[in-house]
């Protein structure tokens, strides 16, 4: 991986932290129940939140396989005469994707929850009466 690529990746991650801090500063009051957010924002936030929630779930599930995978890795390393990584390093490798998934999940989740309830479309009965009322 080149230095430029690494710099770009870490800058993008830092920008996500900045966005989370901006949300942290902006969160000042209770949601008033009114929905002003457009549908595009609501849909993209919802889908992104679902995708990242799945990612968080998979990252958590991987923790359950750590004892089995570590034993396998240790046996293979012993057979090949190589040193095995310590359990803490092995666990850290499983922990890093979980951290990233949690950070990525937070932004769309907060945005979706802050969009408020979707406004109900006008029913067939209401539309003509509203038109008559306006006349």
């Amino acid at each position: 991986m080149g230095v430029a690529r690494l710099f770009l990746d870490e800058t993008a991650n830092a920008a996500t932290i900045l966005l989370l801090l901006a949300i942290f500063r902006r969160a000042t009051g209770e949601h008033d129940g009114q929905s002003l957010a457009p549908r595009f924002l609501r849909v993209t936030a919802q889908v992104a939140a679902i995708v990242f929630a799945v990612w968080v779930g998979i990252s958590l599930l991987r923790f359950g396989f750590i004892p089995y995978l570590y034993t396998e890795l240790r046996d293979i390393a012993i057979q090949n005469g190589q040193s095995t990584p310590t359990l803490s390093i092995f666990v850290l490798d499983f922990f890093k994707p979980l951290l990233m998934a949690l950070g990525s999940f937070a932004v769309p989740c907060i945005v979706f929850k802050s969009c408020g309830p979707e406004p109900d479309p006008p029913t067939v009965d209401e539309a003509p009466s509203a038109a008559v009322g306006s006349v």
């Binding site: 690529r5 870490e10 993008a12 969160a27 009051g29 949601h31 992104a48 949690l102 907060i110 408020g116």
Partner: protein
């Protein structure tokens, strides 16, 4: 207020405005995703040419990759265009803080491991 204080305030405001930070994320997200997506699509194309019978599952996979890749820039674009309409509750401050700390630890670990790799390379 002195001009230096005013410029510092405006800079702080710029970096704490959700819409402007979403724009930064949009640009960086597109730049970051370009190369991995291109590599993945090339790998999938190579997999199709190596095993034409696998086309049935590779094409939906390729579509899913493209949709998920486009999702994040689309989300940031939507946030940039209409982030002002959000009323964020105090309840979500903890989640934002946990997310920021998670990303912080992730960046720290990435930088430390890269530094360790570089040191190994030098040695």
């Amino acid at each position: 207020m002195s001009p230096s204080e005013r410029s510092a305030d405006s800079l702080t405001f710029w970096f704490t405005d959700i819409q402007k930070v979403a724009l930064i994320n949009l640009v960086l997200g597109v730049l970051t995703l370009l190369e991995p997506t291109r590599n993945l699509v090339q790998q999938l194309a190579a997999a199709i040419s190596a095993n034409p019978a696998g086309r049935l599952w590779v094409i939906p996979l390729e579509i899913a990759v493209c949709v998920i890749t486009a999702l994040i820039p689309a989300f940031y674009l939507a946030l940039f265009r209409s982030g002002v309409a959000l009323h964020i509750s105090v309840r979500y401050r903890t989640l934002a803080l946990v997310g920021a700390l998670s990303y912080g630890f992730y960046i720290l670990d990435s930088l430390l491991s890269q530094r360790g790799l570089a040191a190994d390379g030098v040695a």
